[in-house]
């Protein structure tokens, strides 16, 4: 029940955002990813790990969305699922106003998905579209019929996949395992654009050289192997690889977590400079709230597979409304010995996503939990403009 409410809340936002004319690059709509736990001789499924359990948020063009949470909160699974390195259990992933959820399914499954998600709804003549994607597809449905809509969504899947792979790029956490040790940098960087026929072989050296220059690596180093570079340089190469595809969205999953402090600020500054220059859009996944504060324009806070709070950066850091966000902020050591802060020390560990607590997932650790919190799941509500909180008692801590 409450999941429907969440969906609705998010869909309402979408309409609002259209008013302010922000171009939505990515919209994740009630994304769910459950992993089976198998046991016994017959590998029966005995339980599910609810890694991502109904997550919705949007990313606008040119902004940086910070996705923050502790280990096990599902933030990386969100990234992997939206890249379709995992198939989502349910929910929609909308890129540039097109539903891409079925892109990586075999075509019969893709058709089934379209039937279930859209056509069954559209057959009901009283159906009112709740978001722009629904509206767009309903129009096609009305003009060209069922077959027309299926054709629109399922035809040329191969081409659509390629387009999707160009549009969304990722920079990984570990710069030591994300570059093939047996390939020269030039080949690592040119592989993508060549495969997508974005450049010809004769252009490769030129393009790769330019990309390397942009990330601060001397173009003559393109004939070297990954092991000849330091961690920071490898991360720069990873960024160059993403840039070469002219992506609409770059996912950076803990992209600077493995780097030393002095190198980290170099890479962060580089990413921000490139963003300004090329109007890039980032989804920045990190556990480090200070970093998220520095780099993001909007922040999504996750806990145990759910979004607990999302807001513009300033609103979130000036006035965190969810007790978890507040506790997380107070737990971060501030490099200023004279800074007096409110200390909130959470008791216990993050519960297992196999058996998440009933009601609000945060209630067993929440300092201000009330009886209702263990019974009823709080929905994500807009408390202030563009400030959503999933808590029965927002701002009470």
């Amino acid at each position: 029940m409450s999941e429907n409410k969440i969906t609705q809340a998010v869909q309402n936002t979408t309409f609002q955002n259209q008013d302010t004319q922000k171009e939505v690059i990515l919209r994740i709509d009630n994304l769910v990813k459950h992993f089976p736990i198998k046991a016994g001789v017959f590998k029966r499924i005995v339980a599910w790990v609810k890694a991502v359990d109904g997550v919705s948020f949007e990313v606008y063009k040119g902004e940086t969305v910070g996705l923050v949470g502790e280990s096990g909160c599902g933030k990386t699974t969100v990234g992997m699922t939206l890249l379709r390195l995992y198939e989502p259990t349910s929910g929609r992933i909308i890129v540039n106003g097109e539903d891409t959820t079925h892109y990586f399914l075999p075509s019969w499954k893709a058709k089934k998905y379209v039937q279930k998600t859209y056509i069954e709804k559209f057959r009901n003549s009283n159906f009112v579209p709740k978001d722009d994607v629904d509206a767009k597809y309903l129009k096609i449905f009305k003009e060209k019929g069922e077959e027309g809509l299926i054709k629109y969504l399922v035809d040329n899947l191969e081409e659509k996949r390629l387009q999707f792979r160009r549009d969304i790029q990722i920079v990984f956490q570990d710069p030591y395992s994300s570059l093939d040790p047996r390939m020269r940098i030039k080949n690592i960087l040119a592989e993508g654009p060549l495969a997508h026929k974005m450049i010809t072989k004769s252009q490769a050296i030129d393009k790769v050289g330019k990309a390397l220059e942009e990330v601060g690596i001397h173009p003559t180093h393109m004939y070297r192997f990954p092991h000849e570079f330091s961690g920071g340089q490898r991360q720069r190469i990873g960024i160059a690889r993403a840039l070469l595809m002219n992506p609409k969205l770059i996912i950076a999953d803990e992209a600077v977590a493995a780097l030393d402090v002095s190198i980290r600020s170099q890479v962060i500054n580089l990413m921000m400079d490139l963003q300004k220059e090329h109007n890039l859009t980032y989804l920045f996944i990190s556990h480090d709230l200070s970093l998220i504060k520095y780099i993001s324009s909007r922040v999504v806070v996750m806990y145990l597979g759910k979004v607990v709070e999302t807001a513009r950066k300033k609103d979130l850091f000036d006035e965190p409304l969810h007790p978890y966000t507040k506790a997380l902020m107070s737990a971060i050591p501030v490099p200023n010995p004279e800074f007096k802060k409110q200390r909130i020390i959470l008791q216990g560990d993050v519960p297992s996503p196999v058996n998440p607590p009933s009601g609000c997932p945060f209630h067993p650790r929440c300092p201000v939990a009330q009886p209702i919190c263990s019974k009823e799941k709080p929905e994500l509500r807009e408390i202030k403009p563009e400030h959503y909180v999933a808590c029965h008692f927002p701002g009470s801590l």
Partner: protein, 343 residues
């Protein structure tokens, strides 16, 4: 906890400590002339990036180096009036885990997976204290309760894999403190943990320090952890101490370009930042340090002198030492930055 140096005598004094590793590629001078003191009951923070020699320093104090590492002639580690480097292995074993205990970064690696938590804590107790097994077990349970592990009577018989990361680190602390050491060396004790768990563990360490009055050497790369937990700070870079002072002074009035750069390079929650400072270049390879000052190739304030001569660690103010010829330039830069912040 303010430490008045005049009253307290150092519990541990490290003098001209040099630990070199003789590898096939050459001599790695991981720790190269380190001096510091730890006073009773205080927390000394050692901060530095990878390769700065902070972990090797701690392993050297406990003489836990791998065979390639050699502690050079002339190094001194005076603990409670005895030079640890002159002790034989038996005498050292009596100190290790008893008077000086250590907790490590990765509790899963540091705990033995085939013994229960209780057995591992009891091992330390039985080795150093004259008690029977039953008493030792009870002491282990009490210790587990003290570090905040729920149901210690049950947990004492569990194996490390049955505990979460935070609980494992608590068990490590229980083990380390079971013999009431005078000095606890904590090498990145919370790096592998989530921030909310990190806050729990650091709070626990503070409480236990207050109760037992032990001194702590807290080694970390996280200057935030240092700011909130240390009384005095040693900043290391390239196997040398670059700056040392009490915690407030280091953060407010850094007098070494590296410290200054480090403090300005981190994103912070307490202030608004337009742009992070980035220290140019890379962390140097310990086989090829630049000539002169080891930070000279990345330093914004360097002059010709810095590339020829290694500056000494000199006292620039009462209790504040810096290894820089031109520390006054850092003062200037800090003043400008402060003025900018105010405007």
């Amino acid at each position: 906890m303010e430490v008045d140096k005049l009253d307290k005598k150092p519990l541990l004094t490290v003098r001209n400590l040099r630990t070199y590793f003789y590898t096939e590629d050459g001599v790695v001078k991981a720790v190269d002339g380190v001096d510091f003191e730890v006073y009773e009951g205080e927390t000394l923070g050692i901060v530095g990036e990878s390769g700065s020699g902070k972990s090797v320093t701690s392993l050297t104090i406990l003489r836990l180096l791998d065979p390639k590492g050699k502690i050079e002639e002339g190094s001194e580690i005076i603990f409670n009036g005895r030079n640890l480097l002159e002790l034989n292995d038996d005498e050292m074993r009596k100190i290790r885990g008893n008077e000086i205990a250590m907790i490590f970064q990765e509790p899963m690696v540091a705990l033995n997976p085939v013994f229960t938590i209780g057995e591992q804590i009891m091992e330390a107790i039985l080795l150093h204290q004259d008690v029977d097994k039953k008493t030792a077990r009870q002491m282990a349970i009490d210790m587990l309760r003290k570090v905040g592990i729920p149901e210690p009577e049950k947990r004492v018989d569990e194996y490390p894999h049955e505990l979460s990361g935070g609980m494992r680190q608590r068990a490590m602390i229980a083990m380390a403190l079971s013999c009431r050491p005078k000095l606890l060396i904590a090498d990145e004790p919370t790096t592998a943990l989530d921030v909310t768990i990190q806050a729990q563990i650091l709070e626990l360490m503070k409480e236990l320090q207050r109760e037992y009055g032990m001194a702590i050497i807290l080694i970390t790369h996280d200057v935030g952890v240092i700011a909130e937990n240390a009384d005095r700070v040693v900043v290391m870079y390239g196997g040398k101490v670059m700056e040392t002072a009490d915690v407030k002074t280091v953060f407010k009035k850094p007098k070494h370009p590296y410290t200054w750069g480090l403090l300005n390079a981190i994103p912070r929650l307490d202030i608004e930042q337009d742009r992070l400072y980035s220290i140019p270049g890379m962390v140097p390879d310990p086989l090829h340090f630049p000539p002169g000052c080891r930070f000279s190739n990345r330093c914004e304030f360097k002059e010709e002198k810095c590339t020829i001569e290694m500056p000494d660690l000199v006292q620039v103010e009462e209790g504040h030492y810096s290894r820089c010829f031109f520390y006054k330039k850092v003062e200037e830069a800090q003043k400008i930055a402060k003025a900018g912040e105010g405007a």
